[in-house]
């Protein structure tokens, strides 16, 4: 627990989770990223991997058919600030290492299938007996109950939420909210659950079980429209809706002659007048169809078409400059290259630089998305080499002798 061990912490800056030891038996993205959030804030996170090849994320070679290049950012960024323990859990001696580690840890986190956890004697029943203070967290596919046991990846689960079916223009294919979008929310929920349980443990002295699922978390991603649907069962909320049919044409995306902008104005007469002035368009301002909020709503298609035509005459830089001066809320719709050089992202630490051992140079990485003013998180090291800390953990934390380590290596239990 942080208070008890904080005093012996070796890092220079105190972090809220200093002294919390996390067993991170996870693969791919949802589980590892849950533990990443804890590691960023000072937890000692031990990424437990199979000796042959380790976490599947280490094997990623291409993303969107683009080669990952000389450093595997997929694995190294979400496993930053962690240690790696390579152990074969199929062998009894490997399971014994895990049980010893459980005795000396605060959190067990996994996104492996429950059949594997049972086979390797890593169920809550078993581990809670070894260490009643243990917070046991599963980042699952479909939740604790209900018995659904099919493979769960973020896209296949996002498919069930209904979110994909309502995005994009009518008649277009469904739209995925982005690679890893589901894992990212599932992982964050798991991290929140761990903190809640750690907080409760301070008082009760006992751990508990947590289950954060891709399904439950991704249903929340859809909340802004799913919740109104659940309340009303209005099918229009479940279907694709064209931008030509925007409920408020003043709050909509528009093409310019060199890109797109997102205009965000409440549908008021004042806003409408200001917009018309910015367009230098007296005819539009006088158009009776658009003179009232109701008119603008009822003639949405005509209004969107009229704005499309006018906004296409200039570049988005020029529009945004005019709008800034006129107090009109809008943004350019950026691409990832714009984001990569966005000072707002760098100055808030959402991007940062980290030294990559693999290529012996500094690389650009995602930083810490949540800011704590006095105990900020940090990216101190990128992901470890497979088994990099096996010996250190076995000797220093678990009390194995070098002789025993030699035997375990010979048997292939550890790397």
């Amino acid at each position: 627990m942080s208070a008890e061990r904080a005093s012996s912490g070796e890092t220079s800056t105190a972090k809220p989770l200093t002294g919390v030891r996390v067993i991170d038996l996870t693969v791919w993205f949802q589980g590892p990223v849950a533990a990443q959030h804890l590691a960023d804030f000072g937890a000692e996170v031990i990424h437990v991997e199979r000796p042959q090849g380790g976490d599947f994320g280490r094997g990623v070679r291409t993303i969107k058919a683009v080669p990952v290049g000389d450093w595997n950012q997929y694995f190294l960024v979400i496993n930053r600030n962690k240690k790696s323990l390579a152990v074969d859990l199929k062998q009894e001696a490997g399971q014994e290492i895990m049980r010893r580690l459980v005795e000396r840890s605060d959190v067990f986190l996994s996104n492996l299938g429950e059949d594997n956890l049972e086979r390797w004697q890593l169920t809550y029943e078993r581990l809670g007996e070894i260490n009643p203070r243990l917070v046991y967290a599963l980042a699952s596919g479909y939740g604790r109950y209900g018995g659904m046991n099919k493979p769960a990846f973020d896209l296949t689960v996002q498919a069930l939420t209904g979110l994909m079916s309502r995005l994009g223009e009518p008649g277009q294919p469904p739209i995925y909210a982005g690679m890893g979008s589901g894992d990212a929310i599932g992982g964050l929920m798991a991290a929140l659950g761990v903190l809640l349980a750690l907080y409760q443990r301070r008082r009760t002295g006992r751990g508990q079980q947590i289950n954060a699922s891709l399904y439950g978390a991704q249903l929340f991603l859809a909340a802004p429209t799913l919740q109104p649907y659940l309340a009303s069962r209005d099918d229009r909320l479940a279907r694709q809706r064209s931008r030509m049919d925007a409920p408020n044409p003043l709050w909509n995306t528009y093409p310019t002659n060199d890109g797109w902008v997102f205009l965000c104005l409440e549908n008021t007469d004042d806003n409408w007048s200001a917009l018309c002035r910015s367009l230098d368009d007296a005819a539009l301002a006088c158009d009776q169809r658009f003179a009232t909020a109701t008119g603008r709503r009822e003639h949405a298609a005509a209004l969107v078409a009229a704005l499309d035509e006018r906004l296409a005459k200039r570049g988005d830089g020029e529009w945004l400059e005019r709008w800034r001066a006129a107090g009109i809320t809008a943004s350019r719709i950026n691409n990832l290259a714009d984001l990569a050089r966005d000072p707002q992202a760098w100055e808030n630490g959402y991007f940062t630089k980290a030294y990559c051992e693999e290529v012996q140079r500094e690389v650009d990485v995602r930083g810490v998305p949540v800011r704590l003013s006095k105990t900020p998180g940090a990216v101190e090291t990128l992901g470890p080499e497979l088994g990099q800390h096996t010996e250190e953990i076995l000797v220093e934390a678990l009390g194995y002798t070098w002789e025993q380590i030699g035997e375990l290596k010979a048997q292939g239990v550890i790397l």
């Binding site: 809220p16 990846f153 659950g193 802004p224 919740q227 109104p228 950026n334």
Partner: protein, 391 residues
């Protein structure tokens, strides 16, 4: 049964759905979350009622005029009893209203002061409005979500990452406070939430660059025909596949789609994902259109393939798995038709989330909070009401 945040008092002044939802996660796990509604009320409350129900469940509500001396006094007394304060107001407004960190920390030095912001605590655009659309537009994903030639896509999902980050940040700061007695500021921004939700694309572009992350890629030009792909079926519904390690899944998928698993054009991962990936996608495109979506779900299930049908919102609304896990709840209220609501995305065995109280109307708990938390007498409360300071 205990509650994880049983002894935590949170003052919630959030105006937006997403920031209020962040505080709702704390309320779900036992925190006493008190919404402070400003008097006189803001006129433009056109938020969807069901979103208000979700974001303000399990909370109490006090309505007070913080500009009046007596209202300010009650507010300051509340701050002195609180553990955390949640806001999504602009920094200038917070300073002007003496609701900034320095002002509140003077009243309660170990306060956890959490701000849901648009673009973070620093940087040239830290004062831009906290609108999810602006943050999403800035994040760079909108142009590449749709098919080529289509308008950029706004998902609305970015704000939800921020909601959870806000709850995460508060809990983290509470843990630190418990250990050290030190309070601090927490900032979770819509920009960070949107970036974080897009982290794989964002990080891939940072590391690798390339046009494929800047322009939409056709769904029939995917890197792996068996992973991250969508195919239409006979009845117009779609299926989606995620089988990144194709060696493992290829025999089963080939069999159900009528392809020859030993076809020399596709007999290795490299051939499937490099040499002949476009051809293989065309063959899947044809194959899936021969049968309806329900047929494919049965085949996927039989073989344990990592694939599913792309559903619409009617699916979670009636799905037993969602109901059993209380991801979706049936809500019954006296005098109203039964309805459904999103439930709880997180299971804690010893501190389960409960719907203990429905979202309050403004001021529903004013007297209760003044009396129970601050020790006001009934006469004092009546006086404040009469003066329009509270309601």
């Amino acid at each position: 049964m205990s509650k994880a945040l049983r002894d935590v008092v949170v003052l919630d002044t959030a105006a937006s759905f997403w920031a209020a939802l962040g505080a709702a996660f704390l309320a779900d796990f036992g925190a006493t979350v008190i919404r402070i509604e400003e008097l006189p009320p803001a006129s433009d409350n056109n938020a969807d009622a069901s979103l208000d129900e979700l974001a303000n469940r399990n909370k109490r509500s006090i309505a007070l005029d913080g500009r009046s001396p007596a209202g300010r006094r009650a507010f300051e007394q509340l701050v002195a009893t609180a553990d955390a304060f949640v806001t999504d107001a602009p920094q200038a407004q917070l300073a002007e209203r003496r609701l900034d960190y320095a002002s509140l920390a003077a009243l309660k030095p170990d306060l956890v002061y959490a701000r849901g912001s648009g673009f973070g605590a620093d940087g040239p655009d830290r004062d831009l409005p906290a609108l999810d659309e602006l943050a999403a537009a800035r994040t760079g994903m909108m142009p590449i979500l749709p098919q080529p030639g289509q308008p950029p896509v706004y998902t609305g999902a970015g704000q939800i990452y921020t909601s959870v980050m806000l709850a995460f940040g508060v809990t983290l700061a509470l843990l630190h406070r418990d250990a050290t007695g030190e309070g601090q500021e927490v900032d979770a921004s819509l920009f960070a939430g949107n970036m974080y939700g897009a982290s794989l694309d964002v990080q891939a572009f940072l590391a690798m660059g390339g046009e494929r992350f800047l322009r939409p890629v056709s769904r029939l030009d995917a890197g792996n025909p068996m992973s991250g792909t969508l195919y239409p079926t006979q009845d117009g519904r779609w299926v989606t596949l995620t089988m990144p390690d194709t060696d493992r899944w290829w025999p089963g998928l080939a069999e159900i789609t009528g392809l020859d698993a030993n076809d020399p054009r596709f007999d290795s991962h490299e051939k499937r994902c490099e040499d002949h990936r476009l051809l293989l996608m065309q063959l899947f495109e044809e194959a899936f259109q021969r049968k309806p979506a329900a047929y494919w779900r049965d085949r996927f299930d039989e073989r344990g393939l990592s694939a599913d049908v792309i559903e619409d919102y009617s699916y979670p609304a009636t799905d037993e798995q969602a109901r059993r896990n209380r991801f979706v709840l049936d809500i019954e209220r006296p005098g109203r038709a039964p309805a459904k609501s999103l439930g709880f995305p997180l299971f804690l065995s010893d501190s389960p989330a409960r719907l203990s109280r429905a979202a309050p109307f403004a001021g529903q708990h004013t007297a209760e909070v003044l009396s129970d938390l601050l020790g006001y007498s009934e006469d004092e409360i009546a006086e404040l009401e009469a003066a329009g300071v509270v309601r």
